[in-house]
Amino acid sequence: MCLAIPARVAELLPDDRARVELGGVAKEISLALVDGVAIGDYVIVHVGYALSKLDQREAEATLALFAQAGLTPSLEDA
């Protein structure tokens, strides 16, 4: 449920709106539900609204966790 996707904020617009960019596609959305968004931030977009900011450091950490899970125990021990 709740189809949402992270998109990069490309431009801040009046009235709490922003232009976000995802894979070359741009769309205007509302920032009314999140505070303190800056250009370059990633936000999670759902039905035309940003629901939250994406924490880029946490994203990298999660990816690192994935990679670590994939390491065989022997390699991990090594």
Binding site: M1, C2, L3, A4, I5, P6, R8, L22, G23, S30, A32, L33, V34, D35, Y42, I44, H46, V47, G48, Y49, L51, S52, K53, L54, D55, Q56, E58, A59, A61, T62, L63, L65, F66, A67, A69, G70, L71, T72, P73
Partner: protein, 384 residues
């Protein structure tokens, strides 16, 4: 697509899959419920089960907002359009949800006098509001559905409508609450098939709902029910990682609320959105969920201050429950007692074109996901 593609990587998936297989105890079975349709969709669409060991089984939960919408609520919207010459605006997902008399919003639309009424798809609640502003002679009702993610946008447009004094706009509210549904699953009385009932070993917790409500509301699952919860993103690697984390909790005998989706979910959630929702909505005493029955304190209604924009108040609507087909097994499927192919209606009377029960309604429902993506698993297929 940054922060998307990386979370769909096949090589990493195989690694996590191998870790699950390695860590899962071959001597036992693991049954986890992914509450959200978003997870169900990811599991089905990416064939995640093929990367899981046979003793780890995923049970598809009720977390799909259109699946749980009862027939009687769609009937209300259809009646508004047909009898009160209203233009219903709603998300695309709602258009095909079956209602009484073989109708759906899409089929009802085909019976309307479009000069007076209409049924339209919108991408956002704001589009419904804009239509009402653009065409003052048109009476617009936004059929609002969804869990905690779509609720804040609905709250925003209600606040705007009041600020504008917009007389031709209202909301037919069907916003429901995730924690209440999880509670219902945990409390569900054993059905006739009680013996076959699967003990749930834990939950994959909602992704985007949790960005709004945070992780705190799931504490009761661990605290009162001693079940682990891992909040996970909707990408397939997120799901796999969360399964790995659940396997580890089970193996360790832990029951904790863990968060795999740290890049977007905090313990507190989005406080601004929560405050807004609180300003506009309040708890409904009871709300009927398709497949789960009436659950107390499980949904929201519009506060009296906004009654002029509450379609139920404005049009004096009453809810009339409509029973599901008696052969529909959604209830037992949602509890993991049965699988979609066990239902005798599956694939015959009940298909995505003509759904009979809630699980066949959206592609996120357990039966629809199996029909669309997994049906081939029911039969042996000769290899190429």
């Amino acid at each position: 697509m940054k922060y998307v593609d990386e979370f769909r990587d096949g090589e990493l998936a195989r690694g996590i899959g191998a870790a699950i297989a390695r860590e899962a105890d071959p001597a036992r079975h693991y049954a986890f419920m992914e509450f959200c349709g978003g997870h169900t969709h990811a599991i089905s669409r990416y064939g995640v089960v093929d990367l899981l060991p046979a003793n780890v089984r995923m049970i598809h939960g009720p977390g799909c907002p259109v699946c749980v919408l009862p027939v009687g609520r769609i009937d209300m919207a259809i009646r508004l359009a047909m009898e009160r010459a209203v233009t219903i605006c709603t998300y695309g997902d709602c258009l095909r949800v079956p209602a009484s008399g073989g109708l759906s919003l899409l089929k009802a639309r085909a019976r309307l006098d479009k000069n007076r009424a209409d049924i339209r798809m919108v991408y956002s609640a704001a589009d419904a509001l804009a239509l009402a502003q653009r065409e003052p002679q048109r009476e617009v009702v936004f059929l609002a559905i969804g869990f905690e993610t779509t609720t804040p946008p609905t709250a925003l447009v209600l606040r705007q409508a009041r600020a504008l004094g917009l007389a031709n706009f209202s909301v037919l509210c069907n916003h429901v609450l995730t924690p209440a549904a999880i509670r219902a699953i945990l409390h569900a009385p054993a059905g006739a098939g009680a013996d076959a009932r699967v003990k749930l070993d834990g939950f994959v917790g909602p992704a985007h709902v949790s960005t709004v409500i945070g992780s705190r509301p799931y504490d009761f699952v661990a605290g009162q029910h001693h079940k682990p919860v891992v909040i996970a993103g909707f990408e397939p690697l997120d799901v796999m990682q969360s399964i790995l984390m659940l396997v580890r909790q089970v193996n360790d005998g832990r029951a904790e609320i863990e968060n795999e989706f740290t890049r977007a979910v905090t313990r507190e959630g989005n406080l601004k959105a929560q405050a807004l929702v609180d300003e506009v909505f309040t708890l409904r005493d009871s709300y009927e969920w398709r497949g789960l029955g009436s659950l107390p304190d499980s949904a929201l209604r519009i506060r009296p201050e906004f009654a002029a924009w509450d379609a139920e108040a404005k049009f004096g609507l009453d809810y009339a429950p409509v029973p599901d087909h008696k052969s529909c097994e959604c209830g037992t499927i949602l509890r993991g007692e049965k699988r979609p192919a066990d239902c005798k209606l599956f694939g015959t009377a009940c298909t995505p074109e003509t759904p009979m029960g809630s699980c066949m309604v959206s592609s996120e429902g357990a039966c629809a996901a199996h029909y669309n993506y997994g049906r081939f698993r029911d039969i042996p297929v000769a290899a190429a």
